[in-house]
């Protein structure tokens, strides 16, 4: 029985958008926290910590997100937890985001001029105090534009959760398509919905980046005078 593609189907898809957004927010929040930890390990003084962080990043950046999803999904039952699409999707996206965010933030930490570390060191601060009180507050400003940009990657990444049966936007589209068999209109609409979420974030990220460039240029001029 083929159903007509009507306003009900459109509403169903729009409603599915909230699971996409929620999943992305969870992945961003948890991935951000983990990623911060990894980034701190990555710039740590201990070689072992740095090596661990590099290994973590290499593994999660060097394997497909889909495989991370599959392994967590099929692996969770091995440790006695019943496979749950919510849990697997949230966990996989968290790990994936943490690896990328930590690399982005490491770049931002290293973009803070070396003299700031030396100055903080001269004030008698410990490595962790230097990082927390002097470096991170400055790194955060540089980090905001690329972090907003990465949110777009997370939002797009949530679409893969549909493959393990998590009902977000893409899975909802498959369900609607199975009932109406109008793939072109269904997927074009879904692409439009993703676009309406991601494009404003992309634009925001670009704008913040331009403003940061301008500010840095400006501060530089002032400090030269």
């Amino acid at each position: 029985m083929i159903r007509e593609f009507s306003i009900n189907e459109v509403l169903f898809l729009v409603q599915a958008l909230r699971w996409t957004v929620l999943l992305a927010l969870i992945a961003f929040a948890c991935g951000g926290l983990t990623g911060l930890g990894i980034a701190i390990l990555r710039v740590s003084e201990a070689r072992l910590f740095r090596a661990l962080a590099v290994g973590y990043i290499k593994i999660f950046q060097g394997t497909p997100l889909l495989m991370q999803l599959y392994l967590l999904h099929f692996g969770s039952s091995l440790v006695g937890i019943e496979a749950n699409a919510w849990l697997s999707a949230a966990l996989a996206l968290t790990l994936y985001s943490s690896a990328f965010l930590s690399e982005i933030w490491r770049g931002c930490i290293q973009a803070v001029p070396r003299g700031q570390w030396d100055g903080a060191h001269a004030l008698g601060l410990s490595h962790f105090q230097q990082l927390r009180l002097v470096i991170l507050p400055q790194a955060v400003r540089i980090a905001i534009p690329p972090t907003v940009g990465f949110l777009v990657q997370i939002l797009k990444g949530t679409s893969l959760a549909s493959i393990i049966g998590f009902t977000e936007l893409t899975r909802a589209a498959q369900m609607v398509n199975n009932a109406t068999f109008r793939p072109l209109i269904v997927y074009a609409l879904v692409a439009g919905l993703y676009f309406s979420l991601c494009w404003p974030l992309s634009l925001l990220s670009q704008r913040l980046e331009r403003r940061l460039d301008w500010e840095q240029l400006h501060t530089f001029k002032v400090s030269v005078q």
Binding site: G157, I163, P183, A191
Partner: protein, 224 residues
């Protein structure tokens, strides 16, 4: 834990996994070459005086970069037949990868072209080089060399994204594993193995790109 791992099952089917990995490599390399070509064409198109042309290319870039690869793939595979264009899974997979990579490559190549100092182009003109030679030797090759590291990471991202084309059952590595797992239910062993294979592929591609960077681009080198 009562689960008994049986990697012997993986070993039995290993030749099939290798065939799947080979298709992943072929698909990825073709997507890289064609995607870079699309990227160069669009990057050049973006310097065109025609506003419509620039707008069209910008629209393509924004549309691709702000929608998931999976949706692009499904739109191409399931949506295009409405226009009378019916593609096999492999063709649809390749097309989706090229279209996706092309958008990212355009932005990367454009950045490289913009980084070429204008004085060099003027110097080329002063030497009486033909426009095509100026573009090829003074703009494109140095630009490609500058952006090659960024291009390399984008290439690896599209190779990893190729696992997604298993949903339309293009017979690459992930799809091969899916088929086998549907038969013997050893999902964890198989997915762990092919995850390791993907990791190996990324490292191999990384090493290859480093080699290309050292050999092919060394004669354009003023980098050091």
């Amino acid at each position: 834990m009562t689960y008994v791992f049986q990697f012997g099952a993986v070993w039995q089917e290993f030749d099939q996994l290798l065939l799947g990995a080979w298709l992943t490599v072929r698909l990825s390399v073709m997507a890289m070459v064609l995607g870079l070509a699309v990227g160069i064409l669009c990057a050049v198109g973006k310097t065109s005086p025609s506003r419509a042309m620039r707008g069209l290319i910008q629209g393509y870039i924004e549309a691709i970069r702000n929608t998931p690869f999976l949706v692009q793939l499904l739109l191409i595979y399931l949506g295009l037949p409405a226009f009378g264009l019916r593609l096999t899974p492999d063709q649809a997979a390749l097309l989706a990868m090229v279209v996706n990579l092309g958008a990212y490559a355009t932005e990367i190549v454009r950045a490289g072209i913009e980084a070429v100092p204008h004085g060099q182009v003027e110097a080329g003109r002063a030497l009486g080089l033909k426009p095509w030679h100026i573009f090829r030797f003074i703009v494109l090759m140095p630009a490609l060399r500058t952006i090659f590291p960024a291009l390399g990471s984008q290439f690896i991202l599209i190779m990893l994204a190729s696992s997604v084309v298993s949903v339309i059952s293009a017979e690459e590595l992930t799809a091969v594993a899916d088929t086998i797992v549907a038969r013997n239910f050893r999902s964890f062993e198989f997915y762990l193995t092919i995850t390791a294979m993907y990791l190996g592929l990324s490292l191999a591609f990384q090493a290859t790109f480093a080699l290309i960077d050292r050999t092919l681009f060394s004669r354009w080198s003023d980098r050091r």
